[in-house]
């Protein structure tokens, strides 16, 4: 679960007459991440594109402009468009339709400008008072009266255009698919290394799928195209292909925004899956807000189908569930003290609400800092394994082990207040060890970084502070509406409800944004800096449209 797909580097060599067929095969397999060709010299040169790419690109461009102008997208179509073979007839049809649309569009613009001028003429009709001759003005009136006629004409043209678009939009989509794939294939040699008579493709493939590629190449070309695995050093950036289970998948987006993990580095997506929604929930913590976000994400999921949106909504969905859970702990429903209002004292023997975070902010503050200590500790432990994998055990102890012991010693010293004063000696001894290790590992400058760790941990105070400010605003909205406006009665009643609705919508939007950003920040700045290097690239198989 924590490791990603294992990649292997491959090289594919063949004679140039087979290049087109090879590209065809690779494009249909969609399993190879092609490396771009880099160094050019006298023997090895960059490949030339096949066929007339520029002509195809031009057509593609005009089709895409039609698609975006009329908002034609696969998910907007009623019938699913079939991916038929693109034939000569279809091509001609699409190009003719494109011309037709252009002509219709031109006519409509012309009519629009004429109608605009007539509208300007209308004001001239008032000139009668100035003393202009009546006959002269009549000719203007004739023009003005033809306006409705022109408008009808315009409407007719618009209808014609619309029906044309509705009829042919599936063709357009299909042709766009075809063209972009075709251009992809034609431009592929630009990434290959070529000599006068041969070509070489370098790329990455997941180890599991190597067999499939080998078999296909063998079947298609026999021995005429040669495929082999190439050795690669640890320094090389290996493209990353995640294989997370469905619930964890949305959190890949957060790495997409930051950086992909480098080769052999621990993939933090699973840690994000556990702690990101938790922090979000602690900060927002309100049953009502959680429900609103949950329902909104469910509704939006039906509408927005692109991958990025799905991931974002997936993250928000999990986070809203945590928000509802922490809402029960804090006893908040749109800022109201729900258990108090309903008169519920106990549920399952627990005093409700478990923590009233407005009154008892000190326990929440201490809890936030303890979460910070453990989160930073987790980051350091992950960092320990990363360094151990890359540079060995000794380095790991000196670089990360010292910090781990330091944080543990602080935990011991803090615990001595609550459990037993003996803990302080253990903590002191550990602190001494860690400082020695620190000085050995990083010199005396390392000691300065202790303040860095301290500010990292204190930064988790925001788990309390952001929540507190969000509740604060909610309570203010409630008291303005309930205590000040509503008691006045009469026309103030709808106004009071308006304040409630608008205020809470605003506060929910702020809450979503603030909790999201601050939870993200805690991970990027406080957590990732302890172990994560990043700098990897995404696995982009050749043949898949982006």
């Amino acid at each position: 679960m924590l490791s990603n797909e294992r990649m292997t580097k491959i090289a594919l060599v063949g004679t140039k007459d087979l290049m087109k067929d090879t590209i065809e095969v690779l494009h249909s397999l969609k399993i190879i991440h092609i490396l771009d060709f880099k160094e050019q010299d006298e023997t090895f040169q960059i490949g030339k594109p096949l066929g007339e790419v520029s002509k195809f690109s031009e057509i593609l461009l005009s089709i895409r402009s039609i698609l975006s102008n009329f908002d034609i997208r696969p998910e907007n179509l009623k019938e699913t468009y079939s991916k038929r073979e693109v034939t000569r007839e279809l091509e001609i049809e699409v190009l003719n339709t494109e011309k037709e649309i252009k002509v219709l569009n031109e006519k409509i613009t012309k009519l629009n400008s004429v109608l605009g001028q007539i509208n300007n003429l209308k004001s001239i009709g008032d000139l009668e008072n100035v003393g202009l001759e009546k006959n002269f003005l009549k000719s203007f009136e004739n023009i003005i009266s033809s306006k409705s006629n022109l408008e009808a004409q315009r409407k007719k043209l618009k209808d014609q255009l619309e029906s044309l678009i509705a009829e042919k939009s599936s063709y357009f989509l299909q042709y766009e698919d075809f063209l972009s794939a075709e251009i992809d294939k034609m431009e592929a040699p630009l990434r290959f290394t070529t000599t006068t008579n041969t070509f070489l493709v370098e790329g990455w493939i997941s180890e599991k799928k190597y067999g499939v590629l080998e078999e296909t190449i063998k079947k298609r070309f026999g021995n005429r195209v040669h495929l082999e695995k190439v050795k690669f050093s640890d320094e090389e950036t290996v493209p990353v292909e995640f294989k997370h289970p469905a619930p964890v998948k949305p959190f890949e987006l957060l790495l997409d925004l930051f950086e992909y993990p480098k080769n052999r580095e621990i993939d933090p997506t699973f840690a994000l899956f556990i702690t990101f929604p938790l922090f979000y929930g602690i900060m927002l913590g309100d049953i009502g807000y959680g429900l609103v976000i949950f329902i909104t994400t469910i509704l939006l999921k039906m509408k927005l189908k692109t991958e990025g949106w799905r991931m974002l909504l997936g993250i928000l969905e999990y986070s809203s569930l945590y928000t509802i859970a922490f809402g029960f702990i804090d006893g908040e429903f749109f800022g109201f003290d729900i258990f108090h209002l309903l008169g519920i004292e106990e549920i399952f023997g627990l005093h409700m609400p478990i923590i009233d975070r407005i009154v008892d902010f000190m326990p929440v503050l201490i809890m936030s800092i303890s979460i910070g200590v453990f989160h930073v500790l987790l980051g350091l432990v992950l960092g320990f394994f990363n360094v151990k994998k890359a540079h060995g055990f000794k380095e790991a102890i000196l670089e990360k082990g010292s910090w781990i012991i330091l944080v543990i010693s602080i935990i011991f010293i803090a615990a001595s207040n609550y459990i037993s004063y003996l803990f302080i000696y253990v903590g002191g001894a550990l602190l001494l060890i860690s400082i020695i290790l620190l000085v050995v590992g990083e010199g005396f400058i390392g000691l300065i970084e202790i303040f860095g760790i301290m500010s990292n941990v204190l930064s988790y105070v925001r788990l309390m502070a952001i929540g507190l400010s969000s509740v604060g605003v909610a309570i203010v909205i409630n008291s303005i509406a309930m205590d000040i406006i509503l008691p006045k009665g009469g026309i103030f009643v709808p106004l009071g409800y308006l304040v409630l609705v608008v205020g809470h919508i605003g506060n929910i939007m702020l809450g979503i944004l603030a909790s999201f950003l601050h939870s993200l920040r805690l991970h990027y700045v406080e957590f990732f800096t302890k172990f994560y290097e990043g700098g990897g690239i995404k696995f982009r198989p050749f043949g898949i449209k982006y």
Binding site: L257, M362, R462, L520, R521
Partner: protein, 79 residues
Amino acid sequence: MGELSVIVVILSAAISVGVTGIAAAWAGKHIGSAAVGAMAEKEELFGKGLVLTVIPETIVIFGLTVALVLLFVVLPQIL
């Protein structure tokens, strides 16, 4: 003496929230405009820019914490 220290504590709480708020806003303004500028050059920087803009808010969060501690922990001890 007693009254004066109460005034000082409350004033300190007000200053710690107010001044850190202004500081965070000022820093946010500069970072925000720089982040948008960087994004115009390179769109992949969106994630990093987004996080950079919330970094100075730590200042005001610390200010708020200090104010809360002053008002709810220090003040009752003086009174």
